[in-house]
Amino acid sequence: MSSTEAGATAEARERHWTKTSRLNTIVMILWVLFAIVIPFFAAPLNSFTFLGFPFGYYMCVQGSLIAFVALIWIQNWRQDQIDDEYGLGD
């Protein structure tokens, strides 16, 4: 690897990590929402009905779980894009 290439890579790496961290922050915020905030407020949410379920209950047994699965797949899809953008995929 020539030195110019290595230099470009260093900068690309930095931007790659900035984008990766930003994506991660978003995922963590959504994770807190679905894993902690919504389950915590199940009682007030139960006053809504969703698919015939009390909504708070629904989120704890199904809704948040679906959100977790979606969150992982979407994050990975986006992370693959970021990796490819900087040529750092494996």
């Binding site: 915590f40 977790f68 992370q79």
Partner: protein, 604 residues
């Protein structure tokens, strides 16, 4: 050496192999159903299911035997994402998930849902904070990462200690579950069942290490998910809850709330040891939010720190496939976790709702006591009915049950044929065995690779390392079986503790190892020791009643105490000591990008 010499060909044909296997298992199920119609007895069906499945696991275990370090520790890093997802799901879903989860939802109500949310939400942490980076690192075990990232044998040793305590707590519960199922199905004493179960576990893991465990876990996932879903779907159709009940049991939840109000949730007039009556409402979250999320937080952080899960992501061919396999893992786990509450709700409704033929509450005591399934489960002490107020009617607080049997007894409650019960037993065994395999291997690998090879005898050659690994495996398995046969704790208590130990000691040292370059060895050691010691102290004090719980944090949530201590110790000590060397900081930079070779060389 079938799989070894033709390794590439086996991995190329996975789809075909496992499709055939699934069809074979379904054909076996149909065959047993026919035999039952022709008059084959319940016990023979149960034995048939157990022997058939164990024989298959044994064949896979034998074909996967290996003499290579990479194959033994990380399955040669050639497990495709989809199959690693299935293997992780089996590794993850223990006897507790399979047997006890639905029962927990049945009896525990809203706070218990912390397990459901926690044991799925943890994978978001695994995926974004750890799995891809640990895969890039190229380690064989979790302490391997700690030891290399922070440098020095002390950090490595601390990680080994936390790993062994957490995993050993967990594995005794799994061997206990294996023994229970083997004993009940085969009709042998529990202590014999435990050793038979252990034998099955060794067959899967001894010869092939991680490779053997991987391919048997894929097979075990297929059995356990079929065994979990068929009874629910069958029951739902028999009882007119719809073809798939998962999206339509909302009205059942509301109906249960009405019935619970009508019957009243009183404690039993006279308690009966080992079984309990329903006292917690299905859905009453008011004022219990903290109880629920504190449990969920411990389980989520524990998921992201349990070595037997993390090490599964070391087996994929690339960083990208490690991430993808986390996606598959949670997808496969989700299938069971969103079914468990449906199962619990429908079972409860069947017992409570007087409009359904299967109901027992409010019926005449004599009629209920003569039901076949009541008699069957009463005779083994898992269930009891007692007309304590003497009115000749079975009240809600006169029906006692062990939470663990909800899944196992449901087919009988719904009046399904015995072949379903045999299937469920095989599924429970697969769940317990696959988790026990993963845990035993995590412990034995940490002791053989990190303690023996890295610390005690770095000059040991390959064959010696693999012999030591197997000897340690046998000893750990035997020790776990001895403790399991003492039956010290219930299945679920021990499982929750494992998560708390893991998150107290390992969560922050692992996560900050990737995400905070400034973290150094002294900080990591302080974090592991501080979190683990304070968490364990809190467990000891609260569990033995020597101290009142703080903020309602009871013994199954002690990670809530351990984790912040770990974080504070780690950050403060890291900042008070010199920053890590340039070499280590460059290594962290290298870990953060997927491209390029692993940090640790193969066979290290």
């Amino acid at each position: 050496m079938a799989i070894q010499t033709t390794g590439a060909r086996f991995v190329d044909n996975l789809g075909k192999v496992y499709a055939l296997y699934t069809l074979g298992f379904l054909a076996f199920f149909a065959f047993m159903a026919v035999l039952e119609q022709m008059g084959l007895g319940a016990q023979a069906i149960g034995i048939g299911f157990l022997l058939f499945t164990i024989a298959i696991y044994a064949i896979i275990g034998y074909l996967s035997r290996t003499a290579e370090v990479d194959a033994y520790y990380v399955a040669g890093r050639e497990v495709p994402a989809l199959y690693n997802g299935m293997a992780t799901a089996a590794d993850w879903m223990s006897g507790a998930s399979f047997v006890a989860l639905a029962g927990g939802v049945y009896f525990g109500g809203y706070p218990y849902l912390g397990f459901i949310v926690g044991w799925t939400g943890g994978y978001v942490l695994v995926n974004s904070l750890l799995a891809p980076y640990l895969r890039k690192f190229g380690c064989y075990t979790v302490p391997d990462f700690i030891g290399t990232r922070y440098g020095g044998n002390t950090a490595r040793l601390c990680a080994v200690v936390v790993l062994v305590v957490a995993s050993f707590t967990y594995v005794t519960a799994q061997i206990n579950a294996t023994g229970t199922i083997a004993a009940q199905t085969l009709g042998v004493p529990f202590s014999v069942g435990v050793w038979l179960g252990l034998l099955g576990i060794f067959i899967c893991s001894m010869l092939g290490g991680m490779r053997g465990v991987t391919w048997t876990q894929v097979a075990q996932y297929i059995v356990l998910i079929i065994a979990y879903l068929i009874p629910i779907i069958w029951m739902s159709n028999v009882q007119d809850f719809g073809i798939i009940p998962h999206f339509s049991y909302g009205s059942a939840v509301q109906r249960i709330a009405e019935l619970e109000a009508e019957y009243g949730l009183q404690p039993a007039a006279e308690a009966i040891a080992g079984v309990s009556v329903l006292t917690t409402p299905q859905n009453a979250p008011a004022g219990r939010g903290w109880e629920m999320i504190s449990l969920a937080i411990c389980m989520m952080a524990g998921t992201a720190s349990l070595p037997h899960i993390l090490m599964r992501y070391f087996t994929t061919p690339s960083v990208r496939s490690a991430r993808r396999s986390v996606g598959w893992s949670l997808t496969f786990i989700f299938l069971l976790y969103f079914s468990a509450p449906a199962l619990a709700t429908l079972t409860k409704l069947q017992l409570l709702d007087p409009n359904l033929a299967t109901s027992i509450i409010g019926r005449s005591f004599e009629e209920v006591a003569n039901l076949e399934w009541i008699q069957h489960w009463s005779s083994v002490g898992m269930l009891a009915v007692a007309d304590q107020n003497g009115d000749g009617i079975l009240q809600l607080n006169e029906f006692f049950m062990r939470p663990d049997i909800v899944v196992l007894a449901t087919p009988e409650i719904a009046g399904l044929p015995y072949v379903i019960s045999g299937l469920v037993a095989a599924g429970g065994l697969a769940a317990a065995m696959s988790t026990a395999d993963g845990l035993l291997l995590a412990i034995a690998n940490a002791l053989s690779h990190d303690l023996y090879y890295k610390i005690i005898d770095p000059k040991a050659d390959t064959s010696r390392r693999l012999i030591v690994a197997r000897i340690i495996l046998v000893f750990i398995g035997a020790a776990a079986a001895i403790i399991a046969s003492l039956q010290l704790t219930g299945i679920l208590g021990a499982v929750a503790w494992a998560f708390d130990f893991a998150c107290s000691g390992l969560f922050f040292p692992l996560v900050l190892g990737v995400w905070w370059k400034r973290a150094n060895a002294a900080g990591a050691i302080a974090g592991m020791v501080g979190g683990f010691v304070v968490g364990s102290w809190y467990l000891y004090m609260v569990y033995n009643g020597l101290m009142d719980p703080w903020f309602g944090i009871d013994h199954i949530r002690f990670g809530i105490i351990g984790m912040p201590v770990s974080l504070v110790c780690m950050v403060v000590v890291s900042l008070l000591t010199p920053e890590p060397s340039k070499e280590i900081q460059d290594m962290v930079d290298e870990v953060r990008i997927p491209s390029g070779g692993t940090i640790l060389a193969s066979g290290h």
